[in-house]
Amino acid sequence: MMLFTAICLTFVVFFMTNLYPNLEKLAKNQGNFRMSDEAVNSWLSDRGYTDNTFVKFGRWLGVAQGWETVKEDGTVLRQCRDSDLPEEERVGYCGVLQGYWGYSLQFKDDVSGLVAARLGNTGKLMGIVMLVMVPMALIVGVLAGMREGSGLDRSLSTFSITTTATPEYVSGVLFIAIFSSSAVGLKWFKGSATTAMDDATFANFTLPVLTIALYGMGYIARMTRASMAEVMTAQYIRTARLKGVSFPNIVMKHALRNALIAPFTVIMLQFPWLLNGVVIVETLFNYKGFGWLLVQAAGNNDIDTLLAVSVVSVFVVLLTQLISDIGYVYLNPRIRIS
């Protein structure tokens, strides 16, 4: 089912990127901007772009033969331009199934290497975001939920509502303006994270991490609060109180474990949303990661890169859904046993 979804999605992306105006733009980007219509057409048909969409999709998947054009002057253009192979063996199937993800016309590089490198950068960013966001969100949620309606609850809830109402491009802009602009003059952090790709420091990585973490945090915190508040009204908590267990002990030993089941699902389902945040933040802070690659590829209609990017992101989404289902069953004894 997952595979079927992924194939459907990539086909949609494939179809949209292969619409004629997109191809025309691609040809003009690659050739020159004053190409005549015939020149555009021949450029496209030489590279197999004008064939049937299904055939092209099959080629990309690796279930149809790659294109090959012999021009009048004898030069041969082939889909499989792997320079390690001798000329004769280059014909044949070269798609995703064969491990060939295509060639990025925008970056002049193999897509697989490109995506892997960018994913590494984003992985670093996401890892730190998770390290900051999840503990903070859980602490805020548990503190707010343990005494529902108290002053602490109200101030923390206001805080988490405010963070959910602040999209990344707003909080990022505000952070840069406050902490790194010369107009305010604090200049504690850097407004760009370009240098953080090789060497992440406190100064250049704090703002992007904080920007993504804040938006995701509010939602998780509110879910944790709701689940904590519900647990605190349960019978066994009242029993513990009546037995004379101290309040910190009740929270830590009796309530916490049960209150953390629901937020786990939310945290896993938060991943796809984080992906959005990553795209915005990487564009805003000029951090060349996966999201930045998505924007570049989509803006320039770099078909192979865009397909690889969407395959990766779709798998991230579907995988997190799977993990959240499995984890929920594992964490919740009521479901596990029955």
């Binding site: 979804t5 992306v13 990127t17 733009k25 109402a165 707003v170 915005i280 989509a298």
Partner: protein, 489 residues
């Protein structure tokens, strides 16, 4: 002429007091949080008459202190606005200038609140909103931006044209006087000039209209689509449910930004993809209302037939004018589908707005579908549904007149939240420069323009950023208030 300061002459009196209150409030809140862990709760002691009373204790004191300080901050902010509106920019600086420009909005807000609170017992859920502080704050913020948007569109609030560039005003800081202003022209750029020397204040006001215009309607359309598909999916289940759910999950698995890039680029628009989507998506309200009315009145043909003719006729005409432009539904290089003749076409959506509208509806509809489907699955097991089935009511009557009204609570709350989310999506589109024309004053585009010079001239991006933040915050608070009040029923 001197540039304006933020609070002008009024500020020399109020600013120090305001700052002291703010610092005090922050300290009080902090101590409140710390004390809630450290300090013991107040000891109970017995009064002579036998009743129990708890002493306040240090924690209680900090709560009281922060409440008073908070009220003080609110009161001074009100003084800033009210006295500022009276004194205007000469007396009360930028705050005064902005407040005076917004006088019509203040009047409308005060009138709305006065009337609503007076009649709140007769107004149902809307009236109950005025029992919750959070809900009132949220509603106030939302209505503030609605009034700003509508009045801004009527050219009441703006000080300058949102698109015209005045020489010498490029990147000027807030409160800079306009160079060589003529009679009748406004004398200052209240919130400064942007990188093309346009007035930031007027652009923010005009941008509010873009949001007020698109966000509620796009959300409404998304709800129509979601409800029309979600009810049968939840009620019937089976293959229908599987197919629609699969498609909804398919759309939801896309990263939103990738979807926007695929749908909104000029090349895709040239093929007419948004037009086709508009033709499909805009048809859902017609189906919705037709089925809604038909299922209710089909037993009384004498009422039903004229009612349906009027409603379908009106909706269909609205549909045609919305979808067709220049006498054609779709008019690209390859395809030409003739539509309503241009003479009858009273309302044209500008292509930029249509594209944005359609893509936002498209992104929102699957989530609404999932919510409605879940609610329908839950509600169809209730006794009153079984009673209606026993009475022999048709499936669509049960879905639309039994299930839907009983699902309205969560749906109304989600509607408010979703308008906020739609606002965020609109901002995202603007931020990536998709859809709307580059000179459009909407907030996302303005933030995108301003971010290039963020570290030197942040004011051009901060004003729309804060506006968007406050509107979405208002919608979230409103949703919270509604949820609270609807749970009390």
């Amino acid at each position: 002429m001197e540039p304006l300061t933020y609070t002008g002459g009024l500020g020399t009196v109020l600013d120090p007091i305001f700052q002291i209150l703010i610092v005090g409030l922050a300290l009080a809140l902090l101590s409140q949080i710390v004390l809630s862990f450290v300090a013991p709760s107040g000891r109970a002691h017995i009064n002579p008459d036998g009743t129990l009373a708890a002493s306040v204790g240090p924690h209680g004191l900090s709560i009281r202190l922060s409440t008073y300080l908070f009220l003080g901050v609110v009161a001074i902010s009100l003084v800033y606005l009210v006295v500022g509106a009276l004194l205007g920019p000469e007396g009360a600086g930028i705050v005064g200038g902005v407040s005076r420009r917004l006088i019509p909005v203040w009047i409308a807000l005060v009138a709305l609140f006065a009337v609503s609170i007076m009649y709140k017992r007769r107004l149902g859920l809307y009236g109950k909103l005025f029992d919750s502080t959070v809900g009132m704050i949220g509603f106030g913020l939302v209505m503030f931006w609605v009034f700003v948007g509508l009045m801004g569109a009527a050219d009441m609030i703006v000080t300058h044209d949102a698109l015209s560039q005045l020489s010498g005003m490029k990147n000027k800081s807030p409160g800079t006087p306009v160079r060589g202003a003529e009679d009748g022209e406004y004398l200052w750029y209240l919130l400064g000039g942007d990188n093309l020397a346009r007035d930031v204040f007027s652009r923010v006001v005009k941008g509010a209209f873009v949001v007020v215009q698109i966000a509620p309607f796009a959300t409404l359309f998304a709800f129509m689509v979601g409800i029309t598909l979600g009810l049968p999916a939840g009620y019937y289940g089976g293959a229908l449910d599987t197919i629609i759910s699969f498609i909804a999950n398919l759309i939801l698995a896309f990263p939103v930004i990738l979807l926007f890039y695929l749908l909104v680029t000029p090349e895709i628009t040239a093929v007419g993809v948004p037009k086709y989507m508009a033709i499909v998506l805009f048809f859902f309200p017609i189906i919705f209302f037709t089925v809604l009315l038909n299922s209710r009145y089909y037993t009384q043909p004498s009422v039903r037939t004229p009612l349906l003719i009027v409603v379908i006729g009106a909706l269909f005409f609205a549909y045609l004018t919305l979808v067709s432009s220049d006498g054609a539904f779709v008019s690209t290089d390859d395809v030409y589908i003739p539509g309503l003749p241009a003479a009858l076409d009273i309302f044209d959506m500008s292509p930029g707005i249509l594209v944005v509208f359609v893509s936002v509806v498209f992104v929102n509809a699957p989530t609404v579908f999932r919510i409605v489907r879940g609610l329908a699955l839950d509600i169809k097991t209730r006794d009153y549904v079984a009673a209606a089935q026993t009475r022999g009511e048709g499936p669509w009557y049960i879905m639309l007149w039994e299930i839907l009204p009983n699902a309205r609570g969560p749906l109304i709350v989600d509607f408010c939240l979703r308008i906020g989310y739609t606002t965020i999506l609109l901002g995202t589109l603007g931020f990536f420069g998709l859809g709307l024309p580059p000179e459009s004053p909407d907030w996302g585009t303005t933030i995108n323009d301003g971010r290039k010079l963020l570290s030197i001239y942040p004011h051009a991006a901060i004003a729309p950023a804060l506006s968007l933040l406050s509107l979405v915050l208002g919608l979230n608070l409103l949703a919270d208030g509604l949820r609270e009040e609807s749970l009390k029923d």
